[in-house]
Symmetry: C2
Subunit: 477 residues, 2 copies
Amino acid sequence: MKTVKNIASKSEDITQWYTDVCLKAELMDYASTKGFIVYRPDGYSLWEEIKNYLDKRFKDLGVRNVYLPSLIPMSLLNKEKDHIKGFAPECAVITRGGNKTLQEEMVVRPTSETLFCDHFKDILHSYNELPILYNQWCSVVRWEKTTRPFLRGSEFLWQEGHTLHKDENEARAFALSILRIYSELGRNLLAIPFVIGEKSASEKFAGAVSTYCIEALMPDGQALQCGTTHYLGTGFSKAYDIKYTNKDNQIEYPHYTSWGVSTRLLGALIMVHGDDNGLVLPPKVAPTQVVIIPVKAESDPNILKTCKELYETLKKDNIRVILDDSNKTPGWKFSQYEMKGVPLRIEIGPKDIFNSSCMASIRYSYEKKILPLENISKTVFDLLSDIQEKMYQKANELLTSKIFECHNREEIDKVLKNHEGFAKIISSEDEAEDEQYMKEKYSATPRVIPFNQIMFQEEDSITGKKGKKVIYYARAY
Amino acid sequence: MKTVKNIASKSEDITQWYTDVCLKAELMDYASTKGFIVYRPDGYSLWEEIKNYLDKRFKDLGVRNVYLPSLIPMSLLNKEKDHIKGFAPECAVITRGGNKTLQEEMVVRPTSETLFCDHFKDILHSYNELPILYNQWCSVVRWEKTTRPFLRGSEFLWQEGHTLHKDENEARAFALSILRIYSELGRNLLAIPFVIGEKSASEKFAGAVSTYCIEALMPDGQALQCGTTHYLGTGFSKAYDIKYTNKDNQIEYPHYTSWGVSTRLLGALIMVHGDDNGLVLPPKVAPTQVVIIPVKAESDPNILKTCKELYETLKKDNIRVILDDSNKTPGWKFSQYEMKGVPLRIEIGPKDIFNSSCMASIRYSYEKKILPLENISKTVFDLLSDIQEKMYQKANELLTSKIFECHNREEIDKVLKNHEGFAKIISSEDEAEDEQYMKEKYSATPRVIPFNQIMFQEEDSITGKKGKKVIYYARAY
C-alpha cells in the first residue's frame, strides 16, 4: 500500500512521520524567524474553513468581531498578578520603536485579556449594555524553546473571544455554549471526536476560576488540548476597574469569559486522520475535495474531453475539484494526491469511456468504486458526505477504545507505561497527591474532568482514599 | 438639520469633526498602547465587508492566501538596501524573548516582502511552478509620531499580495489587474471614486521599479493614497536569490509584484461621505442597512407589531436590519442612527398603520419617502441600490469638480493656496524642479501620473520647459 517515498512510517516513527507530512503535503514551511512557520496555501485554507465555520456560529450567538492592538504596554500586562505570572516567561519584548528607546517596554500579545479589559473599562457603563460579546481573529506570540509545526510554535493563529455578563450563571452558560460549538466543529467539520469537560486547578488558565476544554487523543496515546473556554469570574474586572450601574443604581463588576481555538487544530487533523501515505483530509475541510486524473489519455481523445466535462460539472455544483492533465505519470499523480490527502480521486480511462463511468478511489479507506457518469454531482456529493461521516465514526471508535477505566495502580501502569491512551481514574478530594504520582512516574497530567461523571468505584485509583470524581490522565503535547 | 450635539461642523473644522465621528459613531477607541487603536464592532465590520469583497475577487484570479511570521530577523530585513532604508526608521524592535536577550534582534513586520522572498527562495524551482500568486491578511506595525484614527497609525490592518512571474509583461499586467480590482472596490462597494495611475519616482515604494495607485480626494482638498500595486522587477529576486530553471534549462530570476490596501480605506469612507450629523455609509458596506423605529407606539399596539413583522420580513430577505423598540425617544433615536450612518431609517406611526405604509428617510440626502408595506423587501432593496449608486455619483461629481487644469503658476496658486483640490499640471522630463517648487510653496507632492494622459498644453506649467506628461499635485494625508 505504501507508494510514497521519503516519508517515515506513522506506526514506527510518528514524530518523523508528522514532520514529513507537514512539509511534503505542503501545509507549511520553516521560516527564517526561528520557531516561526509559514502557513502555505493548503495549510492556511484548512484554517480558513475552520474560521468560516466558527465565525458564522459565533455571529449567530450575537458575537461581534473587533481588533485590538498587537502590542501591550508592560504596565497594562502587569495588572492581573496570576495572569502576568503565567505569561511573562513567554513574552517577546519590544524595547525600541522608530529608532528610539521606548520609555515603557511593550510585549507582542501572548493573549489579549489585558487589552480587552482596558477597553471594556472605557465602554461599559450601564446594565443595559450587557452582555458584551466580542471576538478577535489574530495571531499571538509565545516564545517557545522547542517547537513543532502547528502543535507548538512561537506564533500561532487563533480566535480569542472575550465577553462580559451580568452574573456568574449567564457567564458560565455562555462559556459552555462556546464549548459546545467547539465540540461540534470537531464533529461536523474536522471529523475529530473530543473528550469534553473541565480542567483541574493545576491546569487552569492563568487567572481563571474555571477552564473548560475539548481534548483529543493522538494515535501515539498522547492527549492534545484543542480548545478552551474560561469563566474568569470578576477578578479581571476588579483588577482593571471595569464596572457598571445595575438596575437598582448600584455599582457592580461584570463576570468575564474568554475562549479560543488555534491552528493547533491543524496538528490534530493531521495526526488523527493521516496514514503511511500522507495526509488524509475529511471532505468538508479539504481545500481540494476531488482530483480527476485521466488514464491512457493518449489512446482516445474522448478521455481528456470527458475529464474536462466532469471537471466543469463538479465545479459548477460547488465541489472543490481539480483536474490534473499534466504529463506526469498516473502513478506519480496517485502518490501526490494521496500525500496531499485529497478525499476522492476519480480516474477516467478507455474502459470508462466505453461504459460511461469513472473509477473513484476513497483516500481514507482505499476503497474503489465504479460510478456512472450520469448524475455524477449528486453521486459525488453523497459519497463525500458518507466519507465525512465514516471518518468521524472511525476516529470515534479509536478514541473510545483508548479510554481505560483504571481501578488501581497496576491498571494505570498498563495504560500509561506504553502510552495506550487516557487513564480514566477516580480521584479523591486532594488532587495534588495523585497529580504528583502521575507526573513523576509517567509525565502524565490531568487532562480533563469529564462532564459525564460516572463513578465506577468508591476509592481513589491511586491512593485508595475516598473517591470524589472521575479524571482522565495522559501525557500531553 | 443639525440635531446631534457635541460634534464639530464638517465644513468649519474637519479635523475635529473627523475625530468626533470616529469616536461617536463607535468605529474605534483609543488604546493604552500609544498610537494604536481598538477597531470596534461597527468599524471592524466595515473592514470585513472590504475583505469579503477583495478576497473573492483575488481568489477568482487564482490568488491563494498564506500566513507568514509577524516577526522578521534583522539580517533578513537588511538584504534589500532600498527597502531597509525606507522602513528601518519606522520599525518596532524586539530585543528580548522568553526572558533572554536575543542573539539577533527582530522587528515586527512593517511589510513582508523580505519574508515572502525568503520563502519563495525555498519553494520555487521550475518555470512550471509560475506564476505564484499569494496574498496575506494581517496587521503591520510602523512607528508613527503623529497618528489619526484609520488614516495614520502605528498599527493597521491590510492585505499584502506577493506574486512571482516569468517576465515583466506578465508581472506588470498582473499588478494592473489588481489595481483595477481596487478601483472597482471603490466604484462598487465604497462609493468612492479614485484617480488612477502611476507614482512619480519620488513617491514610489521602497524597492519598486513602478508603483501604481488609486488616489482619493478628501473634502478638505487633500489627497489620500488608498491603495498601491508595485512592479518590483527582479531586484528582490536577485537580493534574496530566488531563481528557477526555464524551459531551456537556464537559470532565471522571476519578476515580482506586491500590492495592498489597508484600513486607511475606512478613513476615506468617513471623510468622503460624512456630514454634520455624523457618519454616512453606502448601503453595501453598512453593518446596519435599515433601522426601524416605532413612533407613538403607545397609541396603538399594531405599531410595534407591524414594526416586528417588517423587521422579520427584511431580515429573512437578507437585508441587514435592526429594530430599536427601546424606551428612548424617537428624536434621540433619529440622531443616534444618523450619527452611525445607517443608510435608511423606517418609521412606523399611527398614520402608517392606517395607510399600510411606512416613512423612509434616506441618510445621505435627507429625502423622505412614503413606502407601501406590500412587497416591502423589493422596494427597500431597490431603494438601497439607488442610494448606493447616487452616493457614488455625488462623490464622483465632487471629485471631477475639484480637478483643475493649471496652465501656469497663477492657476496653480489659486488651487493649492486654499486647498481646492488636485492641481493637474504639465510636467517636463525633469520632475525634480517642479517637485521642489510645489513642496516648498504648498507642501504639495505629485500624487499620481494618470493613465489618461491628455496633454492640454505644450509646456511645463511651472517652468515653461518642454512638457512631457500630466501629473496631479496636492497636499496629501
